[in-house]
Amino acid sequence: MTLAALVGLAAGWELIGQLDVSMFVPPLSRVVATSWHLLGDGTLTRAAASSLLSLVKGFVPAVGLGVVVGLAMGRFAVVRYALDGWINALMSAPLSALVPILIALFGVRDTVVAAAVFMFSFFVIVVNTSTGVRSTERSLVDMARAFGAGEAALFGRIYLPAALPAIMLGLRLGVVQAVKGMVVGEMLISLVGLGERLIYYGNTFLITELYAVILLVLVLALLAGSLAQACDRALVRWK
């Protein structure tokens, strides 16, 4: 079903492109060919490598810290009361508005892109982890305590595995946010990687090349999402 919809969309795009309705809709086949060409001559490969590095440098700490903060918020009411307001505000705020602050903190070097990736993906991971911990069955906790479990055993053997499906969902949503953060960071702040290419091709009206980069970003986002989903399936086989 999804595949049929995608094929239909691609066919429609190709048709409109071939009819030459607008210079802003080049045929899909030409976009794909350009993608291939730009990857082949190294232009996009270098840009994509730089982008991926920023993605990893931002997303890995977001996962690590996000899960820890989420676990603490889920388990301890004090932590939750202290952070809930901030997390909710920052999660619903348009994060692009924080760009000037990021520039002030990290300058316009590559690290600022990683920082943007972190900012975009961190909160959804925190909120999902916290929700997962809080929805742990009460009786499982009672059961473990009745067998003498202390706080560490409760965390490791009850709360963490019980929250794992929610944590993995947070990772899947978070990785998509991370790609958004990457593109925003590269376009609005640092002008490196794929974002820089988007700006460059956009400003010079190389529309086919622009679409070629967009296509690559989409593929990257889909791949990252699938990777997160594969991790989810591998870790949460019991659901």
Binding site: E137, S139, L140, D142, M143, A144, R145, A146, F147, G148, A149, A153, R157, I158, P161, A162, L164, V236, W238
Partner: protein, 263 residues
């Protein structure tokens, strides 16, 4: 208090009994239990019954050390309860199985938390699984089992740590009637073999009469001991057709007359 006519009457020499003295508990403005006194003899099968809101589950959790009492004191054996202890195992109404792992690992869980090494743990768990009649299901996951089988896993996990006291919180409430009757007989058989002290919370009058030596009736809001009934039915009950006897019917009816006034 005369001992019931059983083939395995508890003796004063048994080291573990439960003493509940003047226990009160409130949740916010709601008084759950007031001045509750209960003595459970070692090896006795005792049921707590009463309308919902009578605090019977709260009392069980206080005995288990899961909920602190506001006033009063609970002793299990020589130990004054200040938290969960090694003498007690709890069986939960919703089974409380870890859904992410196998029957074997679930039954090992209590042994794992008490620091037993892997090989002995596996052997003890397998023995407990066989004892409750689930041999062959070690690698199944809880979701693959029926409710009755899941509760057998819960019972195996409780028995695996060799507790002297078994605390059961409406263990048969979410199991269908036919399965329940077979399970009750198996529980009685295990109990007579292992000589545990059992405290069972239930809302089923038939269940309380069929299983127990004594039935403690709690009144609701606030929860107090209303009355204690002896169940002089002969044991073993699981082989004889006790449920069909006039005496059984008379005892259930007597319990109903007590409970009806509390509704």
């Amino acid at each position: 208090m005369p001992a019931p006519e059983t083939d395995r009457r508890p003796t004063a020499a048994d080291p573990v009994a439960i003493t509940v003295e003047g226990v009160s508990k409130a949740f916010g403005a709601v008084q759950a239990l007031v001045e509750v006194d209960v003595r459970v003899r070692a090896g006795e099968f005792l049921s707590l019954i009463g309308p919902s809101g009578c605090g019977k589950t709260t009392l069980l959790k206080i005995i288990a050390g899961l909920v602190p009492a506001d006033r009063g004191r609970v002793r299990v054996g020589d130990r004054v309860v200040a938290g969960p202890g090694r003498e007690c195992s709890v069986v939960f109404q919703d089974f409380a199985l870890l859904p992410w792992t196998s029957v074997q690992r679930n039954v090992e869980f209590g042994l794992l938390l008490r620091g037993m090494d892997g090989r002995e743990r596996a052997a003890r768990a397998r023995a407990a699984i066989a004892k409750v009649g689930l041999g062959g299901f070690e690698s199944a996951y809880p979701a693959q089992l029926s409710g009755g089988m899941q509760q057998r896993v819960g019972l195996a996990r409780a028995l695996a740590v060799s507790p002297r006291v078994l605390l059961m919180d409406e263990p048969f409430a979410s199991i269908d009637e036919q399965t329940r009757r077979v399970f009750q007989d198996d529980l009685l058989r295990l109990w007579s073999e292992e000589r545990k002290t059992v405290v069972l919370v239930t809302h089923s009058m038939e269940e309380a009469i069929y299983l127990s030596d004594r039935v403690v009736v709690l009144s609701p809001r606030p929860g107090r001991i209303h009355q204690t009934l002896e169940v002089p039915l002969p044991r073993p009950r699981e082989s004889a057709d006790v449920r069909a006897t006039a005496e059984f019917a008379r005892l259930v009816d007597g319990l109903w007359k007590v409970l009806r006034k509390l509704q």
